[in-house]
Amino acid sequence: MWDIFLQSINKSYTESGEKAVNDVSLHVEEGKLFGLIGPDGAGKTTLFRILTTLILADSGTASVGGYDVVKDYKVIRKSIGYMPGRFSLYQDLTVKENLRFFATLFNTTIQDNYGLIEDIYKQIEPFNDRKAGKLSGGMKQKLALCCALIHSPKVLFLDEPTTGVDAVSRKEFWGMLKNLKSKGITIMVSTPYMDEASLCEEIALIQEGNIMSVNTPDEIIAQYPDMLYAIKSPGMNQLLQELRKSELVATANSFGEYHHITFSKQGSMELLLKSLHRSDVEMKPIRPTIEDCFIHLMTHE
């Protein structure tokens, strides 16, 4: 059973006791693709480091595959794959050298586990003799994933794998993760990009060290309590300010092309349109995104 358990985990780095992670409990079932969603500084990396036995929690217990992260750290280190947030391979070694080094480190060879990494490795194989430092962001990501997979781990920890990667590569990357999941690997992945949350089977929304909600993306969206509308009109900045000033509007947030708003009272749509004194306003009811849910949970904490 390669699942992940966190029970009442606390961790603070400073003497003053400001918490990086506050009383976090989580359970990730075996074979799940689990996403840890939250902005920078939410405590995602801290949780990853506790689970990968790199740091010790101040209190609470954690286990991976039933092995305690403190007592059985050696077993865990053998059976997990970890990709830190920063690109952490040897920049002065070539693609092939990096891969071979990590394979040997885990007492295996590239050939032995070729099946698992084949799909990913094929894309970087043409650059076998290029130094890792000279690869593009997406390529680095693929190489790092290959290195983390080279020993066919039971659980894969990916800390912000798509940060700093272009949109196309990000999409590809999530495709690869789905593939890996189908091979029975438990995957825990973190990301600050809310739009990636819906690609996970289950997600935890984390903010300032606190887990706000754990559920499937659909469930989390279904739990959104209000009717949500998207509104658009020329002069979006001006519009946002007007919306926020309006007593009819409960929340107004900018979401790229549209502003997302909720009303303080049901059926105030017409009233609002009148009060805005604008001619070309487009407004429609929409399904909330994870980001809407995140903002909602954040403001109602």
Partner: protein, 368 residues
């Protein structure tokens, strides 16, 4: 074992692919040896000397004439009284005084033997020895010129007195000093930077989250630098022998043995430094401040320890290179065997063991 070899191979790739590391590793020792070597063998021209002539006879006058004519010396002053010498020395106006005794010529001609006294300012022992050698040559020239036809051997003996640094301790034996300096510097600096680099780049995280034993990380960092240091040692010795014409008087095996002791001590120190620092700059700074300065100051190859204040002499005892310097001087320059250096070797071995144990004990199996 295969893992270790792969790791060591990787370390070598890091070194060979970084020109800066290569330069530091091999450029530094070569530059130092040559720099010191040529500073040592540099000719000294037009050095001020003073003469005190109690004899005022034919022989003393012709020698003074030779001094005056020599390229190496400038006759600064001829005094009547040796009590004035000290004052001239203190003002730093001269490095050497030549004293002719009364009846100089008479003793030489009738007795076949006399003495010239040389007083040198040996605070710069290098210059002092060179000046004495110049004068000796000049004197030999005079003797062979004047008495080549005579059957009776004529003999002018030099009587030497060094003031300020009577033992002539110092730069004369600079090679052992450079050896200590280079080995310490390269080993401490290189290992600490190599380990800290893994932390800084984040690769340490991945290494820790692997079945690889953290101690193996250390061992695989130490072995390449141990090897490279030995290569360095060979380069230094080769340069000393072939370029600077220095003879290795004692056993080479013994020399390598104690050098490896020092290298191990330095490597342990490097590991220790890497444990307490998180970025390469700090590691480099601590290594330089902690190693270069004390080694320069206290090993006695730049400044003789005997001339230092007592408390600095005490401090010098805790610096490994101090002991290494003594050992290497005894083995390499004086050609003594192990029986003469076992005490120092034991102290050095003790320090190495201590540092090694502390560095292993302090090594972290986690990030913080």
């Amino acid at each position: 074992m295969k893992q270790l070899l792969a790791f060591i191979h990787k370390e070598f790739l890091h070194v060979f692919r970084d020109p800066k590391t290569m330069l530091l590793l091999f450029g530094l020792p070569i530059a130092q040896i040559l720099l010191f070597g040529f500073a040592l063998s540099n000719e000294i021209n037009h050095s001020n000397v003073i003469v005190i002539d109690y004899a005022k006879d034919v022989a003393s006058r012709s020698i003074i004439e030779k001094v005056r004519a020599s390229e190496n010396f400038d006759l600064y002053d001829v005094l009547d009284d040796h009590h004035m010498i000290e004052e001239v020395f203190k003002r730093g106006e001269t490095k050497m005084a030549i004293v002719f005794p009364s009846n100089f010529n008479e003793d030489l001609v009738h007795g076949g033997y006399t003495e010239v006294q040389l007083i040198t300012d040996a605070s710069d022992p290098n210059t002092a020895t060179t000046l004495v050698n110049y004068f000796n040559m000049l004197l030999l020239g005079y003797q062979s010129e004047m008495y080549q036809d005579q059957q009776m051997p004529m003999n002018i003996q030099l009587s030497l007195r060094n003031i300020y640094n009577p033992e002539l301790e110092g730069t004369t034996n600079f090679v052992p000093g450079v050896m200590a300096l280079v080995l310490l510097l390269v080993c401490v600096l290189m290992t600490s930077v190599a380990i800290v680099k893994e932390k800084e780049l984040g690769t340490m995280e991945i290494l820790l989250v692997s079945p690889f034993n953290p101690f193996m990380v250390i061992i695989s960092k130490v072995i390449p630098y141990l090897f490279l240091s030995i290569v360095n040692l060979i380069v230094i010795l080769a340069l000393s022998v072939f370029v600077l014409n220095l003879e290795i008087a004692g056993s080479i095996i013994l020399l390598f043995g104690v050098s490896i002791l020092l290298i191990l001590a330095a490597l342990s120190l490097g590991i220790l430094i890497s444990n307490v620092t998180n970025n390469q700059q700090t590691a480099m700074l601590i290594s330089l401040m902690g190693m270069l300065l004390p080694t320069l100051m206290f090993t006695g190859f730049m400044f003789p320890i005997e001339n230092m204040p007592k408390f600095l002499q005490v401090i010098s005892n805790i610096i490994p290179s101090t002991w290494y310097y003594i050992i290497v001087k005894n083995v390499m320059i004086k050609g003594l065997g192990f029986e003469s250096i076992w005490k120092e070797s034991l102290i050095l071995a003790g320090m190495t063991t201590f540092l090694l144990l502390v560095s292993i004990k302090k090594f972290k199996i986690r990030l913080s």
